[in-house]
């Protein structure tokens, strides 16, 4: 399966086919999700209209974690099998993930002001998401901190793998510690504990975010692959 993708040309061909599809899914689900979120779903009896922040915040938080797992997994593949496409996927995922994390942090604190009366508290959930953000930053800085690009890629991959420990901490921090932040109500073992009128737009938005991720990922990986091709051509030219 991933030997199949090891071939950059094949990967390029595949992504160029999938890219418009990802774009369309993104536009449709995001549009529908936003419509439902803003106009169709009811205000919460406790949180009133501010609950609509959820449809931006929660999928962003999910994607932050999803992107990190993707980053770590593809880093591991790149490191162990020296898999070029995996490296490029990892490199392209990092900034997208960092943006989702930032979005989760920003919307979270915007939401926190009306709900908790403060922009920021040092509770376990919030702190561990902040660490996640620093891990993304560290990955990107480390990737570019070396003169030889391959050296940076491998150092950063090791960091990404080590940092994956943070993801379960984010996920379970609300259960392990007393936090202000509320515990999981959608992704639970005994099924979601949330009203369907809110669940629908939430899931639509989640699908939209995911498709958006793939859309951007495809664009970025293709750019990187083409840059690599140019570089390889130059080297071959030098070899004569």
């Amino acid at each position: 399966m991933f030997n199949y993708f090891a071939n950059p040309t094949r990967f390029l061909r595949l992504t160029s086919k999938l890219q418009p599809f990802a774009m369309i899914v993104t536009l449709i689900t995001m549009g529908a999700g936003l419509y439902y979120a803003l106009f169709q779903s009811p205000p919460d009896y406790q949180q009133s209209e501010t609950v609509r922040m959820m449809y931006v915040h929660v999928p962003a938080a999910w994607m932050a974690m999803f992107c990190y797992v993707t980053l770590a997994a593809s880093s591991a593949v790149a490191l162990i099998w020296r898999h070029m496409v995996a490296d490029i996927v990892a490199k392209s995922t990092a900034p997208i993930g960092a943006c989702f994390t930032f979005l989760a942090l920003a919307t979270g604190s915007l939401w926190g002001k009306p709900m908790w009366g403060t922009w920021w508290v040092w509770d376990a959930r919030l702190t561990s998401v902040l660490i996640l953000f620093f891990l993304y930053l560290g990955y990107m800085v480390l990737y570019n901190a070396f003169d030889e690009p391959t050296r940076g890629a491998r150092a950063a991959a090791i960091l990404a793998i080590v940092g994956v420990i943070n993801v379960p901490i984010i996920k379970f921090s609300v259960e392990w510690w007393n936090t202000l932040h509320q515990p999981a109500s959608v992704v639970k073992l005994d099924g979601p504990a949330i009203h369907p009128s809110m669940l629908t737009p939430l899931l639509l938005m989640a699908v939209g975010y995911t498709a958006f991720y793939f859309w951007v990922l495809f664009i970025r990986t293709r750019a990187e692959l083409n840059a690599n091709k140019v570089r390889a051509l130059r080297i071959r030219q030098a070899e004569g």
Partner: protein, 213 residues
């Protein structure tokens, strides 16, 4: 019959092609002289031989087996002397040498720290902290390392830099003794160390444009 060879090695450092399709081979008791102008890739080739760099293509064989297969054993077979001297200035000359002899993992009975110090005329400096050494004395300490524990393959990068006449003589003798025991040597140098029987001119494998640029 020890034998070390490389086939069609290509090396790229920092996106710059250093050399392409380079072949070398060192037989038992042989010394391979690497020659070439500054920047042609002698040091790079030595690092490649040691396994500190990886070639982009090509492979190296020790007794016909790829050195990548059993890298740990291969590492136990070589001594490397680079430009950097790996000397801790806070330790004495003898402590420095003993440490590297111990790290080589060689049976203590086979180590010969005292003899190595003598070979390079360092015995009287043995208990001196290495920070007081002059440039040539540092180089000698670094060279003594390869005599302190036995290993069949020596990789030497400009070993005669900073050495006075007497020490160059000692180095020549050490290399000859090693050869006689059947040892292999690869040495990058701009000077004459002994009649050059086996010379590899690296500039033949470099594309002048990219190597010089």
């Amino acid at each position: 019959m020890a034998d070390f060879s490389g086939n069609s090695l290509t090396c790229i450092r920092g996106e710059r092609v250093v050399f392409t399709k380079l072949d070398f081979s060192i037989g038992e008791g042989e010394v391979l002289y690497l020659r070439g102008p500054n920047g042609s890739g002698k040091s790079t080739l030595l690092c490649l031989m040691a396994g500190l760099l990886r070639p982009v293509s090509g492979e190296m064989l020790w007794n016909g087996e790829s050195t990548r297969e059993d890298a740990e054993t291969f590492r136990g077979l070589l001594h490397f002397v680079g430009h950097q001297d790996a000397i801790k200035t806070a330790l004495t000359v003898e402590e420095n040498l003993t440490f590297w002899a111990e790290m080589s993992g060689v049976d203590p009975a086979k180590r010969s720290v005292g003899e190595a110090l003598e070979t390079f005329a360092l015995s009287h400096l043995a208990s001196l902290p290495a920070r007081f050494l002059s440039a040539g004395q540092r180089k000698r300490l670094n060279l003594a390392r390869i005599c302190a524990s036995p290993a069949p393959l020596w990789l030497l990068d400009e070993p005669s830099n900073s050495l006075d006449k007497a020490s160059v003589g000692a180095l020549r003798k050490a290399i000859t003794t090693h050869q006689e025991k059947g040892g292999l040597v690869a040495v990058a140098t701009h000077e004459e160390l002994s009649p050059d029987t086996n010379v590899l001119d690296i500039s033949e494998f470099t594309n002048n444009k990219s190597a010089a640029a």
